[in-house]
Symmetry: D2
């Protein structure tokens, strides 16, 4: 390592720290896995854990090292083909639904790959006299990209484990049944009509889909003080919510019937009790936690049943613009929603991503990034719904007020929940 | 018929006229069909022509006669089960994709059914001393509903005929190759930013999805003076538009590959010439007509290729708020887009539905209708895109400025085209 | 018509009679149909009735008129493409599963086609001074081919009607509940081991798959005097026959689970009573009739349950080599199995095709026909099982002792039943 | 271990030796695998290697230890559910197509399982004073069962590796291009008609499907001295064999078109040269080896093209009844067909399984085993064709003259080839 290192600006030093920490956190998440667990792809929505490890590494290699590092040699020229996720402009990606058929490279080879790239990145950062802004920017994107895959690692591993008939836990720690606390009643926060400002201009870091700040006519609305709880959702089920077509969007009703949905993903009724698969194995559903692993259609049907609606993403952003972002995120290690009312003050964030009623579209006057990164977000802008907030599997440092998560409305394997809203004050 | 008829208010008389005319127009559309043609369902998106004849009749019978006419006896108690389209609150509908398996009732029985209901409706309207507003309203909805099915009849029949290896024409008239006229250059109409008003408050007739009038912050934009033409779309194809993933939304690119899309629906290249199936049989593609039978994804890819974007539905509505609605609609009998430049003044409307970049969602402060009619529009608000304008298969009296048509973004069997827009003035 | 007619040999006269009668019988079978009923294809195993009418006509036109009649002009050059069933050597056939999408030609046009070909055939037969043997042979094949389609017409129409939610009857005659007669006990006919002779050498007419006569070592066996009855099959069901995997071949058990088979096709239990769709509408299952509409797998499972086995096709043929072929065939007009014991003598034939345990293979020293007719039978010799006998939908004049019918073992829409056998005398 | 061991009869001692050797050979086959390779299931016809290791062990545990060993405790009560292959009478098996989703138990746990069962088996064999015949018989069946899975291990691993885009070799040894030797011309061995005896009466060991010896009328036939070679098969391809429907059975032709078959599995043409994936990686196709990895349909089409036919299984058995069974089997370690003409005398056996034209059926007077073992063979007797001989992946000690292998006619992942036959002497 170069002696230039001592002259590193604190900015670069911070960047290296953040990079190293992020890469380490990823490896922490897979520590409980056996080698065999890294290979499995139990659904075409999920990827094998080892694929995540390799793909995030490929991202740094392809976008930064290959592009900018003098005399960099790729770890293996075959990896480009295998670990490109969807960047069509970089060559035909390996078919997503067949990732579980790739026994090679082995987990050890992928760890070697990670180490190889880590060394090269750190070397590059420490030896460049002046680090171009473009590289700094790509480093930040790469770190954020890896954080997104940390969340996917958790939700994909959970799904992989859940389908095994023996329902192995992902985390081996002793289960502590978390207490069912008193559920704080929903309060309504009201907002007047007027011109709001939505989005960000990227002073710190943001994705292209959050930019730019733009005006938006905001109609008067009210939004609930907390997400809907398991207790409330069980009332919906008991009131035959899954059996009444008038509560559902047409596509949602089709899904209910085709998939025989009767409850959130992972729930099953055993001797009259709702139980659910969690990262620590099967537990009773805790009534005082936010409901999670539901599709947009279930959130929407619940809201219709309850006489409310989901908020738009603009309402959500406007309502929370002054809030602190504290809550139960990836770093807590819980990897499960926490009970409402655990803290005296109540809490308003985290635990679950919150479905909004807003389809995922481009902001006014936005323009996508150039080159391969232009594929990062914008090309998914069809048939997706926006989720806001952040979940117990999201790194806290990854999210912010203007963050826009998006998924197809029928997906349930993310930690997705929702909050109610209504017209007027 | 009662002697009260002479005292009919002119409002009721107009209603009867409109009803009778609409019902007759439907039968006009199927006049060229052989009995066998009424039975075919060539794709699960289309319905057999005889199903349309029966379903529109069932709508009047179920919503008005059964609900409000004293001592009305349904024509056949089995029809409710067969001809309910999707009103889950009225009982389980017959599966859509199997409508082509119903040989019975015969076409003649369905015509008898139509006559039976027509007589009962006219009798009801003429004999009620005071016609309740509710019935008037339902009549208007029923007429508009039947007009929607007139458009579907045209597009479904076209599709049914097109898949026959012998490519029979729907309209037997002699084909007149329409002249390829000079294509007027696109002009840009610009609009300043500010608060616009979108939607309607239903003074005359409107669907629930168009209501209410609401404020909207409009960013400055410009919109093209006419839709994109076949000539222009051919340039996109020649520039390998269907082969370049960077131009496409991810789902669109999947569709291109899965379905091997290389051109709009109905187009095929024969000896270097693009030809297309039309309602009059196979013709050469006329370069000076608006391109049609394309998906949202193709419209979006073209716009990206051309360096523009699609308009939002609010932009579209705002831009055309003062226009006359003249153009080539169902009544012209052409059932095909007309050439640009056929009229001196140019023309700005009709011919094709125009894809917007707006997903189909509820307007602020809207509320769906109550009862079965609540299922009319709102329950389709997921994974659909809004189209504005009206096509050569749309009855002119059916549409208006605020009309919101909507289809899944991948569908191509409607007369769908698009118009370009851009940010700023 | 030529005056030569009077000099017709009686052989040709017989041929014309047979031809005319067969063609007329086909039209008799479709007499109860509405035009709409001719168009429907409710399953990819069945064909629309109008397709059968056209295809059998095409067979005569293609094999005889086009090949041998001087100056014959085909009725429509497009029909060859549409109505070729599977003769790959004659050009790519229209996809079988899409036959129900062909609204044209109309039923009337197909009837005109039939008349056109009938006239040309009769003219050819009556005007040729010496009719070549090849043409006589093709006429006989064409007549037998049409008889096969008569059987398919009945079974396809039955299936088409059965899936309609209103369960229209095919035959409108008043239903006479056929009496449930005493079931004659099964007797066993025993045969010693030795060399048997199987097949035919075609002195009269036979298909290529029945030829030639060949020796076969026959092990001693016994065969039941009548097929298994509905009463007996109900006992199998009541003994949980459809729930016990050990009774089933592996593929059969998969089918039971995938399709949720619980009884023969068309059976359903209503208020504790087995009822079944018949060509005359829904009736109670008559216990004294042979069970029918079952797959090979159900026949095989029943036999295993009962402690017996199915006969081989050689055993069947050897056992019945001296029997008269009397029984309930198409000509009776019943189009449904008759009760055992209706005749004093009992009866041993007809009513249902009998599954054997013999896969459909070539006989030793056989050679398939040359040219397109070589595709008639031999190319289906994989994954089919042989059925022997003849059913209530088979023309009596079509079958004979050595006749080999064959279907995939999972099919149930034919009138298929079975008879038990066992080893030894 | 008990001191009784010294008194072991030599029969038991031989049994233990055979058991131990077989179990060891299985582990030898997976020695080249990385842990990740054990998990993969690349097609629903194949199983993950670790599944084979566990399933063969379960077979000994379930059939012998659980049934007969005093106080035996199963290694894990969950394994019964996971590693039962298809014995429905022993409980619902885990779905075959999802075996690749089972990350647990780990490979190490499965090896522990194998060791646990091996110890218990050896202990049981050595401590029983008198070993019941039933147990001896089950041991022999278990050993033969494991040998069948050795063959499947090879063919499944080959398939798993082949679909990886990097085409890793299974065996890491240096590739030695095997020489293309002169192809010996086919000679015809002729046999007269008469009564033959087929099958076995199980004096040594045989499967139920080979029993009993029975008479069969054998027509005169001739059979080729060696299987068809790659050179000959390439001539078929060059003569457009895959493009001519008249050469194919109807189901075969459908498969050719649906799957775009143009050559045997694993073949691809690169710069005009046929190359193929082998267990040592991609090599040029050696013209002097027997063709392999073909379906029954391809064998049948070739034979028709060549003017011959495939032999029946009886002809095959009769023809080879006096041959020594020498050849290229699993033990050679080649795991690939060897060249014709490598030995001076030519050779007539091994290398590839040979498709016969005989569907897989029960022999006359046979009776399946009782209990779960009754499911071993007989329940697959539908839609399968018999293969005779043995392949380069078959243990030599596993096969014998009367051995009947069987697969669905469309499968190609076994080492399957064929030999020609013809009628008459």
């Amino acid at each position: 390592m170069s002696t230039k290192q001592v002259f590193m600006t604190s900015e670069v030093s911070t960047l290296i720290g953040k990079y190293t920490e992020t890469r380490k956190e990823t490896m922490n998440l897979v520590r409980p896995l056996e080698i065999e667990d890294f290979v499995i792809q139990s659904h075409e929505d999920v990827s094998p854990p080892k694929w995540h490890l390799a793909h995030t590494t490929w991202f740094f290699e392809q976008m930064i090292l290959t592009a900018y590092k003098r005399e960099y040699e790729v770890f293996s020229k075959n990896y480009h083909r295998l670990f490109n996720s969807y960047y069509e402009s970089l060559g035909t990606p390996f078919p997503k639904h067949q990732r579980g058929l790739l026994s090679r490279p082995t987990v050890q080879e992928i760890i070697n790959y990670r180490n190889h790239v880590d060394r090269a990145i750190v070397e590059m950062l420490t030896t460049e006299e002046i680090l171009p802004d473009k590289i700094k920017e790509l480093m930040i994107i790469g770190i954020n990209h890896e954080q997104q895959h940390q969340e996917l690692l958790v939700t994909d591993i959970k799904y992989n484990y859940s389908i095994h008939p023996l329902e192995y836990p992902y985390l081996q720690e002793e289960t502590q049944e978390r207490p069912a606390l008193t559920l704080p009643p929903i309060k309504w926060h009201s907002f007047e009509e007027g011109i709001s400002e939505i989005g960000t201009n990227n002073e710190d870091f943001s994705f292209d889909n959050e930019r730019p700040v733009h005006k938006h006519w905001q109609h008067a609305f009210s939004i609930a003080s907390r997400p809907v709880s398991n207790k409330e959702f069980m009332e919906f089920i008991e009131d035959r919510g899954y059996e009444r077509p008038e509560l559902w969007l047409a596509e949602g009703w089709d899904l209910v019937q085709t998939n025989d949905w009767k409850a959130p993903l992972y729930w099953r009724k055993e001797e009259g009790i709702w139980r659910t698969y969690t990262v620590r194995g099967v537990e009773s559903v805790n009534p005082s936690e936010p409901v999670t692993h539901i599709s947009y259609f279930e959130a929407d049907a619940y809201a219709r049943w309850a006489g409310y609606r989901l908020p738009t993403e603009q309402e959500w952003e406007w309502a929370f613009r002054d809030n602190d972002y504290e809550g139960n995120f990836l770093e807590s290690g819980l990897l499960h929603p926490s009970s409402f009312g655990e803290k005296e003050s109540g809490k308003e964030f985290g635990d679950v991503w919150e479905w909004t009623r807003s389809p995922y579209t481009q902001y006014p006057r936005s323009s996508p990034l150039e080159g391969a990164l232009g594929e990062y977000n914008a090309k998914f802008m069809s048939n997706k719904m926006v989720l806001r907030g952040g979940s117990c599997a999201t790194p806290a440092s990854h999210i912010r007020l203007t963050y826009r998560n998006f998924f197809p409305p029928e997906k349930r394997w993310q930690f997705s929940g929702f909050r109610l809203a209504k017209d007027g004050q």
